[in-house]
């Protein structure tokens, strides 16, 4: 294997890892605050991709008639806002009532799984099984630098993942909202007594997580322009595994875990026959968890009752 192929695969892994990282960030954010594994997150990502499809379709269509580049600029914020609404709605109608009733966390996780299935099958019922083709919003440029090819889209995806990570890291560690989030995860019974509106903070968490899932959905639809109702399932599970390997609850862990999974998946194909990809990739992850059960950046926690 020569050097150019190696560099090419590093770029491939960076792009693929970016999607894992973006989705893993949403898992870890919600887990960090609520200790809830939001299994519907992969499907919120899928909904984000569909929302971006319809938003882009509307602005490209005869009613608005914007140019593809303008459409892209409008689609990014709109998709994020609308997907955030979906996430918050889920929280309002599915998770909050259970939390109010003091249900065990396990039931909320199961509810999340069901919410994911509801999103998938309601999509299937409304839009049918036929796949959708995402329109091209940014004119694709393929650059060839010394035998290594990359596209403008690839570069954009990688930078977006890095920027989103830095932004979330800043929100969590430097702002008052972030401090409240960390506080809730530390002790959710004492926090309301300190005058912190827990429900509002949780809503903000869902806005952040789902909003960036929407952004990931849009970028994914642009990179892999075939949409189907179950597109979020496998990538969602894998991103969840990435978040766990990175140390769930930790922003840095989700980011590193996402890229790690991307690199492992691409790396296995690079060295071994592609038939073994998932087998080898997940064996490596298992070994990591075996050595460090809390994940790369996770810290052991004692459960509070």
């Amino acid at each position: 294997m020569d050097f150019i192929t190696f560099i090419q695969n590093v770029l491939n892994a960076l792009q693929w890892g970016s999607f894992y990282a973006l989705i893993a960030l949403g898992y870890t954010l919600v887990y960090g605050v609520l200790r809830l594994i939001n299994f519907a997150h992969g499907d919120i990502f899928m909904v984000g991709a569909y929302i971006s499809f319809f938003v882009a379709g509307f602005f490209l269509g005869p009613l608005a008639g914007l140019s593809p580049a303008m459409t892209f600029l409008v689609t990014v914020p709109l998709t994020m806002v609308l997907t955030a609404c979906v996430g918050v709605t889920l929280e309002r109608i599915a998770y909050r009532p259970l939390r109010r009733k003091g249900a065990h966390r396990l039931y909320v996780v199961i509810t999340a799984l069901m919410c994911g299935l509801i999103l998938e099958y309601s999509n299937l019922a409304v839009l049918g099984a036929s796949r959708l083709k995402f329109p091209e919003l940014i004119e694709k440029q393929i650059w060839n630098i010394g035998g290594v090819t990359l596209t403008n889209l690839k570069v954009m995806v990688i930078f977006t993942a890095i920027i989103v990570f830095l932004l979330l890291q800043w929100v969590i560690t430097k702002t008052r909202v972030g401090m409240a989030m960390r506080a809730i995860s530390y002790d959710k019974f004492a926090i309301p007594l300190m005058g912190i509106p827990v429900d509002n903070i949780i809503v903000i968490t869902f806005i952040l997580g789902s909003g960036f899932a929407g952004l990931a959905g849009l970028l994914f639809a642009m990179s892999y322009p075939v949409l189907e109702p179950f597109m979020g399932m496998l990538i969602g599970w894998k991103a969840f595994i990435a978040a766990v390997v990175g140390g769930i609850g930790d922003i840095k862990g989700a980011f590193v875990g996402g890229f790690l999974l991307g690199f492992i998946e691409i790396g296995v194909v690079m060295v071994f026959p592609s038939t073994f990809r998932d087998l080898f990739a997940f064996t490596i992850l298992l070994l990591i968890l075996w050595i460090k059960p809390t994940g790369l950046f996770g810290i052991p926690q004692s459960t509070k009752i």
């Binding site: 150019i4 491939n12 796949r131």
Partner: protein, 385 residues
């Protein structure tokens, strides 16, 4: 008193139902209405509805001097292997059908065929090209040619058209159709002695990123890439290969032949070739009549699976006629139909005429089509065994 008469009435109805049922022939369809290839299920169903309207509109199917209505039951197999088995069992046990049409793709037809054979129910797969579907299964038949024939067709065509010396393959490891065809292509390419298969890479059904496999393929510098994959994956593979700087041609197989390929792949698939069962453009005779009627009714050109479903029903009808009578007992009827099907020597369908060998497989011609710059499938050449 009233209650008693009601009970007698209900009893009468119960007795009457089987007698009524004997007037109809129940046929099951095991097709992918949702899942990875919903387009295929829909096309099959459309063709079946057309056939049903023809037969029942003419007062039913005449078997042994009596007319029987046909009843079609459509069961979704979600494009999954395990669901194909469940759908087949449901059709056999709950619906008590006398024969099954489908599954279409080999991924479902290989396990589905096993179920039908074990339960002694005649089954005809319209679209499956993998040899295992019918191999050593006396109850299973098909309407399409086989991959051991399709593989060499592709290899010969590509060698001639692209003056290719080397080739590469990317296929779906979890799909019997894709894997089987990839392996047959590899051995038939190597048998030609022009050059090696420089890369032989696989992926999973739900995969969306193929960059690592394609990087490996492109680094091996093949003269063309053979992609025996479903249309949804073809769209992603072609685009990603172009993004990675591949400029050479692609060659596809019969799974490419759906209008959805053009919708999903767009201009990037223009100019590529694939082997298939028939070409709608430039058709003549009965094929043209079918295409025109289908187009008028559903507004789209029928893809190969729709035409093959039509031919499968035609085969089945022939088999039922050969059976000579309709037995009320579904088990006996199934046996009669199987014998009727096995006795068919040759069949003139809209996808060409075919002769049948001892495995129940047709021997028929394949065509290679080119995807034109308008996104239509244009006849390029016909290859006969």
């Amino acid at each position: 008193m009233i209650r008693k008469s009601l009970a007698i009435l209900a009893l009468g109805l119960l007795v009457a139902t089987p007698a009524l049922a004997a007037k109809t022939i129940k046929i099951g369809f095991n097709i992918p209405l949702t899942g990875d290839i919903p387009e295929v299920g829909e096309g099959s169903k459309n063709a079946a509805e057309m056939y049903l309207a023809d037969i029942n509109g003419a007062g039913g199917l005449e078997v042994g001097g009596k007319k029987y209505m046909l009843e079609f039951i459509y069961m979704d197999n979600e494009s999954k292997a395990e669901s194909a088995v469940n759908a087949a069992l449901k059709l056999i046990e709950q619906e008590e059908v006398v024969a099954i049409i489908g599954p279409n793709s080999s991924k479902q037809a290989v396990p589905g065929g096993g179920t039908a054979n074990d339960n002694r129910v005649p089954m005809i797969s319209p679209w499956s090209t993998n040899p295992d579907t019918t191999k050593d299964r006396p109850w299973v038949f098909r309407a399409a040619f086989l991959d051991p024939f399709q593989g060499p067709v592709v290899a010969d065509f590509a060698a001639k058209k692209f003056s290719a010396k080397t080739s590469a393959v990317i296929f779906d490891i979890s799909n019997d159709y894709s894997k089987g065809l990839a392996e047959i292509f590899k051995s038939s390419w190597e048998a030609k002695g022009l050059g090696p298969v420089v890369a032989f890479e696989s992926h999973g059904t739900k995969d969306q990123d193929f960059s690592a496999q394609l990087t490996k393929i492109i680094a091996a510098k093949p003269d063309f890439i053979f992609v025996p994959d479903n249309y949804n994956q073809v769209a992603l593979i072609v685009q990603q290969a172009r993004d990675l700087g591949y400029k050479g041609p692609f060659m596809g197989s019969d799974a490419w032949g759906t209008p959805d390929l053009i919708k999903l792949c767009g201009e990037q698939c223009y100019g590529q070739y694939f082997s298939t069962h028939y070409a709608a453009a430039g058709a003549k005779g009965a094929t043209k009549v079918f295409i025109d009627r289908y187009q008028k009714k559903y507004g789209v050109e029928p893809a190969d699976y729709a035409a093959l479903t039509w031919d499968s029903i035609g085969l089945l009808v022939e088999g039922i006629k050969n059976a000579g009578k309709v037995d009320k007992n579904p088990r006996k009827m199934r046996k009669l139909i199987r014998e009727g099907l096995a006795s068919i020597q040759s069949f003139d369908g809209i996808t060409g005429s075919a002769k049948f060998d001892e495995q129940g497989d047709p021997i028929k011609c394949a065509v290679v089509v080119k995807i034109s710059n308008e996104g239509t499938f244009v006849f390029e050449e016909s290859v006969c065994p």
